[in-house]
């Protein structure tokens, strides 16, 4: 009997094209869109070589310090900061207008920077120029000090070049000792894909709702037929729900395969926890679908609408439409995301990806299981009531 139900529920599900589109194809399509839109965001934020120009004039030619320093900054390699064009003032203005450079440096009595607008790259440009100026000043300062000291020692043979070289070496020696201890997995667009998985998990609710509706006499006529059959509703439902769960998992597996192999999404290194999160996440979706199917007294379309609205709201709060949303909620009203299944799933993946420890992941999985059990328990109360006031 169980398998009889399972078999036919499975058949009805995989033959329903609309259902399959929204639960299988739509998340994948959305994933492709995410990939296309977000693949460059982080790249564009990471440090790129900045295009600038330097106006060639006498002052600049005479200032060996500036020349050498900027030569060093534009040396190809890992530490390259600038790509510099040495041009006339007219050309520099022209380049700036065409936005081929973000700004140019002009040295007269003062060091002068011209940029088109304010921005991060422009600020970096300015900082570096400031630094060069202050270094130059520092060297002069230290050198005059040193020379003064040599004078006071009445040393007749002052080797100016040596002093200058030593000081320059001092200024440019890497004495600062910084240790970058940041975690390596910092790609926040991953959150987008995690919310996508969360959405797919919860969309599974549409599938379980679909099979549940067929068991409710007040929903449709097939439901009536099922209600008058000599088998308890719960028994019939179990087979159908298992079928819907299997269909859901197939869809999710496709989405995983697609995101991992085509979109190169990084889910962290641990396969087993990912699997556990996927099955508990789907379970939460499944239970959400049953609850809506059981308790919302409305037509099939309205029920689907409500379920999708809940799902999308959940995904919105967990960062699908703007990653910072999840953080804002987590920081300010954490309780909302503690009861939001989409956020539990998203946060579960995030903790696997970002944190080396498992306690946050386990917390999320346990939350999902509790959520599912609670929803299923509630639905059972509703389903057990088998007579209706009206059909």
């Amino acid at each position: 009997m169980f398998w009889h139900n399972f078999k036919y529920s499975f058949k009805t599900l995989i033959r329903n094209k609309t259902l399959l589109f929204w639960t299988f194809a739509f998340p994948i399509l959305l994933g492709i869109f995410f990939h296309m839109a977000f693949s460059d965001i982080e790249k564009s934020e990471t440090f790129d070589v900045i295009d600038i120009a330097i106006v060639e004039n006498n002052t600049f030619h005479q200032n060996k310090f500036f020349q050498k320093t900027f030569e060093a900054f534009s040396q190809k390699g890992e530490n390259q900061v600038f790509h510099i064009q040495y041009v006339s003032l007219k050309k520099a203005k022209d380049l700036l207008k065409k936005e081929q450079i973000i700004g140019y440096l002009q040295m007269d009595d003062e060091v002068h920077i011209v940029v088109h607008s304010s921005g991060v790259q422009e600020t970096i440009f300015k900082y570096i120029v400031d630094e060069v100026i202050s270094n130059q000043k520092m060297i002069e300062d230290l050198a005059s000090n040193e020379i003064g000291q040599e004078y006071s020692k009445e040393n007749a043979t002052i080797d100016y070049n040596k002093i200058y070289a030593e000081i320059t070496k001092l200024v440019y020696s890497d004495t600062e000792s910084l240790d970058n201890v940041s975690k390596t997995n910092l790609s926040y667009t991953m959150i987008e894909y995690y919310t996508l998985i969360a959405m797919a998990c919860l969309y599974g609710g549409v599938i379980s709702m679909f099979v549940t509706n067929y068991k409710l006499a007040n929903m449709n006529c097939v439901g009536k037929r099922t209600s008058i059959s000599p088998i308890s509703k719960i028994k019939i439902l179990t087979g159908s729900l298992l079928a819907s769960y299997v269909v859901q998992m197939i869809g999710l597996a496709l989405l995983f395969i697609f995101t991992i192999f085509v979109l190169k999404v990084d889910y962290g290194e641990h396969i087993l926890p990912i699997f556990i999160l996927a099955i508990t996440g789907s379970l939460a979706g499944l239970s959400l679908g049953i609850v809506v199917a059981t308790f919302v007294k409305a037509g099939e379309n309205t029920k689907t609408g409500i379920l999708i609205a809940i799902t999308m709201l959940g995904c919105f709060l967990s960062g699908m439409m703007g990653i910072t949303m999840k953080y804002i909620i987590d920081k300010n009203i954490p309780i909302i995301n503690k009861i939001n299944p989409a956020s539990m799933i998203t946060d579960g993946f995030y903790s696997l990806y970002y944190y080396p420890t498992f306690h946050r992941f386990i917390f999320n999985v346990v939350s999902l299981v509790i959520f599912s059990i609670l929803m299923i328990f509630l639905s059972l109360q509703g389903l057990r009531r088998q007579k209706y006031d009206s059909i």
């Binding site: 033959r15 037929r225 059959s229």
Partner: protein
Amino acid sequence: MKKIIEVKNLTKEYKKLKAIDHLSFEVKEGEILGLLGPNGSGKTTTINCLLSLLKFQEGTIKIFGKDMHPNSYELKRKIGVVFQEIAVFEELTVYENIDYFCGLYISDKETRKKYIEDAIQLVGLENYKKFYPKQLSGGLLRRLNIACGIAHKPKLIFLDEPTVAVDPQSRNNILEGIKRLRDSGATIVYTTHYMEEVEILCDRIIILDKGKILAQGTSTELKELANIDEKITVEVEKISEKVIDKIKRFPTIHEVNLNMNTLIVTYKKGQDNLGKLIDCLKDNKVVYSKIFSERPTLNDVFLSLTGKELRD
């Protein structure tokens, strides 16, 4: 004969509407009981209550001598229902649909296979086994709906308006099938608002209106209630009030009605009524084209009981 269904004092109220009002009736083994009534008279509600799908305020329902509850699975096993709406899966073929619903009752695969074939044959869907519901015409869909309800060979069958909006060929096919079900030993409760079907098919008839039983009995018994015996319909070109008055003075006359060019004359008793009417028309030089006499129908019964037509 055994009582298959026993209903006592069944009352079902919606918020403002009394859908069933202290209804009591019985169904005996092997009979076809017709529940006849206009739309909204409480036929479907009665069936839903019998099936324990609906809550009701008062009354007891016994089926096969036992109380009916949502969990009376042994009773449910013996019942088959054909709902008014088409209750099939869009995504399953004809065969799969029947197999699914039959499978809820019969777990043995071999028996089930045989039963399904029987059901398909009964409703005449042999050539459509692999069709999806979407591809079937209205009549064929109704037949599938019936097959799904009765494939498990139930002892008691409820048919709720199975012939609504069905082409004549399918209708005949369906009615034949129902007779065959009765012949194979099933007890049938049949609701409809088509009195012709009830007359052909049913052993006993209950006429319902506003949730109450107006009358019950065999078709002949009911017609006696109508206190008319013959109905003559004449198509006339022109007829004066004077002639109508003359007809009204006939001794056995019940009523005379003129509706456009159709004159309907009903009689309490039938004895040479047609001859006398024709004579009267001839004498008064009334030109008539068609004339026919018939026995009263259940519609006339209903009309005389409630003052309104069955189908309105």
